[in-house]
Amino acid sequence: MKKTWKRTLSVGITAALAAGMLAGCGGSADTAGSAGTSGTQSGAGADGEKVLTFGCQNYGDGLVDPTNQTNAAWNLMRYGVGEALFKFNDNMEVEPWLAESYEVTDDHLTWTIKLRDDVKFSDGCEMTATKVKESLDRLKVEGPKGSSGPEKFLEYEAEITADDAANTITIQTVTAYPNLPGNLAYPVMAIVDVADTTDWNNGVIGTGPYVIETFTDQVGYTLVANENYREEVPYDRVELLYMSDASAKAMALKNGQVDLVENITNVSDIQELQNDENFTVDIASGVRCGFSWINFNGVLGNDALRQAVIMGIDDEAICASNLIGGLYTPGYSVLPSNLEYGYDTLENPFAFDVEAATKLLDDAGIVDTDGNGIRELDGQDIVLDYVYYDNRLLKEFAQAHHQYLTAIGIEVNEREGSSDDQWSSLVAGDYDFNANNWTTVGNGDPTEYMANWCSTSSANYCGYVNEEYDKLYAQLVTETDPDTRTEIITRLQQILIDDAAVLVDGYYNSSMIYSRNVGYAHIHTADYYWLSTEIVPAE
């Protein structure tokens, strides 16, 4: 009797504990639909203050000094603190921002930039031509100490003269720049108040709609509206909170802890939010290309094998599947289809066709002779080393590619590592496929990016050699006529496609997701613009 009682008690306690745990886990579900009712945490503050809570990834330890590192420069612009002379619209065309207009001489060596006359820094100082010169000159002094590499956008030899009366600056360069405004739009070139900024790490004074009030390491920033901004600033205060995990961002949004998040890279979470009427998901076709370098010095130097590999993978199906969930736009060129570099005129001779891929391999004598399901080349089973890191769905692409390649008798050895591992294996040439995701036109132009396949460039880590490509690339570097440049870039893309030189995943789409507390938000093609006056509270 006593034994039975004891047993019942123990079963009861176990059941109660288990129920308690389950209830604990289920707590978030109860509050899932309650976004927008979370009181003072988000939306309207205690005294009618308009507050935005924004969950985002912490890059570069939250630094905002544009010369320190590229991530810090991006932070300055992403947080709505700094602005540049020019900016990119969603077609990656350059538009004036703090500048009003510009003129350039025919030799592309002298650029005269007229500044807006209604711009003030957040400390109230006017943004004069002298201030702009100071900001750009600071890059020459501080640039070499950091890793932003401002000289990639404007050479240190450039002479800048300021004319406060005319409100213009003149930039005299030694090298002819095809498109200097595009370079000046890059976040590293943001205009900051050099004389008055005291905290360069976390308190840079810029011209943006928001001003840094406090910074807490690993937690985030409190930003307040810039009273001296040239337009009305929609929020009085922005609580910018660092969240590194995509699922954490999604959960915080669903719980009402944040109003707005950027880039949830988790397909299932983003799909769930898309299907929830309480949230709006804004996805922009970005300028990032997911692709794998193909190592020409390895087994993939074989033309038939390389072509068959590309034909054997159904990129459109992968991008459309639940695996990628529309976060990538499919494509076969290294430059995104939404850019003006003639994607529509390109022809892809290696579109998905399993039968053709199989036939190509069979005809080339790449067959499975020992019956183990893997084709052989020169007597060796074909096992492709596929190096990737877990970022922007590269892992998912690698796994999908693996599945497709197995189906045509090619085995894949997946090697997942950190981004450093991926880079080291690329530089060492220790791979067959090396997956990564690149911003193609960071400064509005793909010249730097296209160097990846120019055999004379130090950026060519894949052993690809094509004389025509090299010749055209050399021409591109010095060409200043926009139409000719577009023609060259289009041809370069076609050469890569014809040579089956790159395994393209597609073009990554950035996202911003917001709750009903926010009236409108938008993610831009150039993903270094986050907070702006576009983001407004719900009425």
Partner: protein, 306 residues
């Protein structure tokens, strides 16, 4: 002289009979008596049958899944909830989760048994050597064991697997490297208990060869306790292997391995919980069955219950 020899031999044989509990005798009595007890032991019988069922599931995986491949899927069918056609649903690459869970038993069982057998053999062998010979041999073996024990097991296994590269074989080696110490210490202490008994001394004096003494007297003494430890270890080794795979140091994609499946499903925990639920259940059930089996085996074999 002849008389004296005879006397010593008879003494040894009598001593041996006294010292060795009857069911631990290597001549078959042990298994017989274990079987007799098992017949009367419900728990052991039930979990024994369940364990056999799990093993059969692994062996007949292709039959049970109807010839579906665990590594092939249709991307168009990715992340389908459980339903007709895919009773456990599909994963992110459109593979049938039921098939993968069933095939997963193959990897998990083979690897877990491999680890247990490895650590059992290595640990017992080294432990008996250390206990019997003492001195330098003992010091060297036991100090190595001490060094390994001073690290948290799984963390050390992670390091070993990380250095050797991710694969299920390396995971087995990594766990074996850090887990043999338990058996070595056990075997050593059991051997030490009898090392200086008269019958051992007598065996030495009578000219018995060292390997003979080790196998005839030392091993049978240590065996029952070690077998019980091994049986209860199957479940925990399975968990450790799944942990390594979950962390990316064990089975490699696209292998159907439960820990790896859990990791792959982690990102979909909220939206598509079936990606984690079924492999999780598989691990849970298998580990429970083997743990209970080990426990009931201990109840049967444990000398303390005599």
């Amino acid at each position: 002289m002849k008389k004296e020899n005879f006397f010593i031999k008879s003494l040894i044989s009598r001593k041996n009979r006294d010292m060795r509990p009857s069911r631990q005798s290597p001549n078959g009595h042990a298994s017989m008596s274990a079987w007799l007890v098992a017949r009367g032991n419900k728990t052991f019988t039930i979990f024994g049958i369940l364990a056999i069922l799990i093993v059969l599931t692994a062996v007949f995986a292709p039959v049970i899944t109807g010839g579906v491949s665990p590594t092939e899927g249709e991307l168009m069918n990715a992340i389908q909830p459980p339903g007709p056609g895919h009773i456990f649903g599909t994963d992110k690459l459109g593979r049938d989760i039921f098939t993968r869970v069933i095939y997963g038993a193959r990897i998990s069982l083979t690897a877990a048994f491999a680890v247990v057998i490895l650590i059992f053999v290595i640990g017992t062998f080294l432990g008996i050597l250390a206990g019997y010979f003492g001195g330098v041999v003992d010091t060297v073996i036991m100090r190595i064991a001490d060094m390994l024990i001073s690290f948290p097991g799984l963390v050390l296994a992670l390091a070993v697997a990380g250095i050797m590269g991710a694969s299920i074989r390396n995971a087995v080696i990594a766990i074996a490297v850090v887990s043999w110490t338990k058996y070595a210490r056990l075997a050593r202490s059991l051997v030490l208990k009898i090392r200086h008994r008269d019958f051992v001394a007598a065996a030495i004096v009578s000219g018995s060869k060292t390997p003979y003494i080790l196998f005839r007297y030392m091993l049978p003494n240590a065996l029952p306790t070690l077998v019980i430890t091994a049986a209860t270890d199957i479940g925990s080794m399975m968990l450790e292997l799944a942990s390594l795979s979950f962390l990316g140091f064990g089975a490699k994609a696209p292998a159907a391995e439960w820990g790896l499946m859990l990791n792959e499903g982690r990102a979909y925990m909220q939206a598509a919980p079936w990606l984690m639920v079924f492999p999780g259940l598989a691990i849970f059930i298998t580990v429970v069955v083997f743990n209970m089996l080990g426990d009931s085996l201990r109840d049967i074999l444990d000398p303390r219950d005599e």
